[in-house]
């Protein structure tokens, strides 16, 4: 690869890019410039227009107006192929590799693959892949199937694909990292950050993340989007995290109160679990949560907390032990029964388990607990819309269109709708939350957190599997630590104040 020193000419320049989807004005006159060797941080709430902007850069959407210049030349991306040919590569948030193909094929995919009359030249393909991999310091075997790789190695393949040697016309690739860290472990994040620094020598990077500390640490310049506009473009050293938050959300961060409700001595817990076990997953788990209290469960991969949470909702079986709701032991625990007893579950796999794509937001909200929207089997659209509109206002869902297909909303707004679906129940007694903040921007996270607190103070017992230990310590009235399927520690936050280190010690 020839790296031209082109720090004067911009690698990419967007001028007055505008994009509408029906009533929604997704991008308003966005102009920006990226220079060779720069790492740009792109931040904004869910629905601020980041995804639309990225999709325009990758040729998936075409702008209604405005122009794109690559290496000083005006270009049009009619499809992903044009964008790839211009040297723009993406590392997606959710990994986007063909797991049934080899590392080398994945790196080559989309660009010219060495072949003669359509017949693959495996030797050449593997050599080119090895060369690209060596640029990022990886020694993966190009002929391995991706399904055999670990998560971090897969991310390496994604990065290699994004910078693949032969596809770059001007010699300066632009790599877009779309929230790559949201699904990474801490040590893996460190590896990724090292990669970003290496990439600077070869091209430019757009780094999208919700974690402001990461953005501050890795980027030369930070661009903030809000409501489809680019509201700020700052050199990193001139801003603080608090300023960025304010620029993104449009208001100062609100303080979250953290008073703990005290439980009377003879009060019956809403949910109590005794000696719950499932072979190979968890064993002898006992816990109880009272009305208005939040129990956070922390644990690393394999601690069994996900399986436990799913069992509480009746989504997975357990082998022995018992679950009691309001003092009565449950039998034949299934999802349908759990829902009837007021148990709600916000799953980690939102798109697969939490929502019905293709249904409108309003339909999703009233799916499980229709309230006044249905009498028996008959649905009343007007009543349904009224309920949905109330929730949209309460949760500040954007775009404010209850009839829009839920799949079209951004992640954070989808999560708000999924929350609303359960909060719409008048009999909500137990709220089980599996990573409710995963992939959410700070603003949406705050809204969801406030709703959790509200549900809690309205008398629900909440069980939270948090993304981070800080979240657990901040939200929990009780914090339970699980290790290898067993409870290794329980902290009563009204009496103790453990540090993240205390939790970590009991996790590993």
């Amino acid at each position: 690869m020839t790296t031209k020193a082109t720090s004067q000419t911009s690698v990419l320049r967007l001028s007055n890019i505008d994009k509408k989807f029906g009533q929604t004005h997704a991008l308003k006159n966005v102009s920006l410039e990226i220079n060779h060797g720069e790492v740009i941080g792109l931040i904004g709430e869910n629905g601020a227009g980041k995804s639309t902007l990225l999709k325009i850069l990758t040729g998936i959407y075409q702008p209604d107006s405005g122009s794109i210049e690559v290496n000083g030349k005006s270009t049009k991306f009619r499809g992903p192929r044009d964008s790839v040919a211009a040297g723009i590569g993406v590392v997606h948030q959710e990994q986007s590799l063909f797991t049934n193909l080899t590392v080398a094929e994945n790196i080559a995919s989309g660009s010219k693959v060495a072949s003669r009359f359509g017949i693959y030249r495996w030797g050449q393909i593997n050599r080119a892949a090895a060369e690209t991999l060596s640029i990022i310091g990886s020694s993966l075997d190009p002929s391995t199937k991706v399904s055999n790789l670990s998560f971090v190695d897969r991310q390496m393949v994604e990065i290699a694909r994004a910078i693949r040697v032969d596809s770059t016309m001007g010699g300066s690739p632009l790599v877009i990292l779309d929230e790559p860290t949201s699904v990474l472990e801490r040590s893996e994040t460190a590896i990724l950050e090292r990669e970003i620094r290496k990439l600077k020598a070869h091209g430019s990077v757009i780094f999208v993340s919700h974690r402001l500390d990461e953005i501050m640490r890795n980027c030369d310049r930070i661009m903030v989007m809000r409501n489809g506009e680019l509201v700020a473009d700052r050199v990193t050293s001139t801003v603080t995290e608090d300023e960025l938050f304010k620029l993104m959300v449009g208001h100062e961060a609100r303080a979250v109160s953290s008073s703990h409700r005290v439980v009377a001595a003879d009060e019956q817990p809403v949910i109590s679990v005794e000696n719950l076990s499932r072979k190979g997953k968890y064993s002898n788990v006992s816990l109880s949560v009272h009305a208005g209290r939040l129990t956070a469960i922390v644990g690393s991969t394999g601690s069994g907390r996900e399986e436990l949470a799913r069992a509480l909702f009746g989504a997975e079986k357990f082998d022995s032990g018992s679950i009691a709701i309001n003092g009565t032991k449950v039998t034949g625990w299934r999802i349908a029964k759990a829902v009837k007893r007021g148990v709600a579950y916000v799953p980690a796999e939102r798109k697969v388990e939490g929502m019905v794509g293709g249904f409108s937001a309003a339909e999703n909200i009233t799916l499980t607990h229709p309230g006044k929207a249905a009498v028996g089997p008959i649905v009343f659209p007007l009543a349904r819309n009224k309920i949905a509109r109330t929730w949209f206002n309460t949760l500040d869902v954007r775009p404010n269109d209850i009839a829009l297909d839920l799949a079209r909303f951004s992640g954070g707004n989808q999560q708000k709708v999924v929350m609303a679906k359960w909060l719409n129940s008048p009999e909500l007694s137990v709220l089980v939350l599996d990573h409710p903040l995963r992939g959410l921007d700070p603003g949406a996270a705050q809204t969801v957190n406030e709703q959790i607190k509200l549900a809690c103070s309205n008398g629900a017992a909440v069980i939270l599997l948090s993304d981070t230990l800080e979240e657990a310590l901040e939200m929990g009235d009780d914090v339970i630590v699980m290790r290898d399927g067993e409870i290794s520690a329980t902290f009563d936050m009204t009496k103790e104040s453990p540090s993240t280190l205390d939790l970590l010690e009991r996790m590993v």
Binding site: S96, L101, G110, R186, H210, L469, E470
Partner: protein, 348 residues
């Protein structure tokens, strides 16, 4: 805590994404890579043992050749079906295409109605009929985005209709050459001709999947069509090509079936769809696409043909034959799919 985002500072991520992937990793280990074909071979051996004990005529060279001749047609069709299923689609038009192609072949060969004998061009024309029908299916499927299930269901009857129209109202066209009629079951080097043809197709198909851009793109589309499109691959083009290939192979099968029958019939292909699609699935090709291959299909076809042959030889009453084969098929598929059960799996 003041800011939600400041809580993310120095956060210790206890994320769990990795767990999903470690599962997949173990499934793809070297050991399990061979368990599926080995299980199929095991099932085949068990079948052979059972049927041999029930009827001494089962385990004879003659019957083996018989089974292989019966396996020829489903194998040729099954290879096309494997490609279609690898991209996550389905082709139900097989029998209709066979009828139309077979009819074209008969009418262009020396037959009892007279007319011109085009010789080998009759075969080319028959396959071309399959190509056209496959192309139409593929284009409607990819351009108008109608589910392949519906498009090919319609094309099935379109094919039957084309054959019926070509047939017209005259007498049944019968092939006058006896050589053609017995060609497919003739033995060359110990094996029936049809199985030689099928083997050549099988090897070519396997090479295509492993070594050509088309084959790799088929696998990529089946794995994740969205990513394939995002990577700039020509998704619609290659999907259409898959239906053209399937059409051509169905056409070929229609011609051979017509040779075997000795005369033109719109329903020459009947019964073939029923065995082909289950054979592909039993052979390890996932209905969701992206996983599988043609050798598995070959094993699946042999297994099901052996089963049918064995049931007849063991004296299962013809009245029960169809119910028994149906039930066994469902059982076989359940057994095959058992290992792929998944919490998040949704079947439609």
């Amino acid at each position: 805590m003041a800011n939600p985002q400041s809580s993310a500072t120095n956060s210790v991520s206890v994320d769990t994404a990795a767990i999903h992937f470690s599962d997949k990793k173990s499934k793809a280990s070297l050991f399990s890579r061979y368990t599926e074909p080995l299980a199929l071979l095991g099932a085949l051996v068990v079948l052979v043992l059972i049927f041999s004990s029930l009827n001494p005529r089962f385990a004879t060279i003659g019957n083996l050749q018989n089974i292989l001749s019966q396996a020829g047609l489903p194998l040729i069709i099954g290879i096309g079906a494997t490609f279609v299923i690898l991209i996550g689609s389905i082709d139900l038009s097989v029998e209709g295409v066979m009828g139309a192609s077979g009819m074209v072949f008969v009418l262009m060969s020396a037959n009892s109605r007279g007319g011109t004998d085009f010789g080998p061009w009759a075969i080319v024309a028959g396959i071309a009929m399959g190509v056209v029908l496959g192309l139409v299916s593929g284009l409607i499927y990819t351009r108008i985005k109608v589910p392949s299930f519906i498009v090919t269901l319609g094309m099935w009857y379109v094919g039957l209709g084309v054959a019926t129209i070509l047939f017209g109202t005259e007498s049944i066209p019968t092939l006058t050459s006896d050589e053609l009629a017995i060609w497919s079951s003739q033995i060359t080097l110990g094996l029936p001709n049809i199985i030689w043809v099928a083997s050549v197709v099988l090897v070519l198909a396997a090479l295509t999947l492993r070594f050509t851009r088309f084959g790799r793109v088929v696998l990529a589309i089946g794995n994740n069509e969205e990513i394939a499109r995002g990577s700039g691959l020509a998704v619609a083009y290659n999907k259409t090509l898959v239906f053209v290939l399937a059409g051509a192979l169905s056409g070929m099968a229609g011609i051979i079936a017509t040779m075997q029958l000795g005369s033109g019939s719109a329903t020459v292909g009947s019964g073939n769809l029923f065995i082909t699609i289950p054979a592909v699935v039993i052979g390890g090709t996932a209905l969701s696409g992206g996983k599988g291959g043609v050798f598995g299909t070959a094993l699946g076809v042999i297994l099901l043909t052996t089963l049918n042959n064995g049931l007849i030889l063991s004296g299962v009453s013809p009245n029960f034959q169809s119910a028994v084969s149906g039930a066994i098929l469902v059982l076989a598929i359940v057994a095959t799919a058992w290992s792929q059960r998944d919490r998040l799996r949704i079947s439609k």
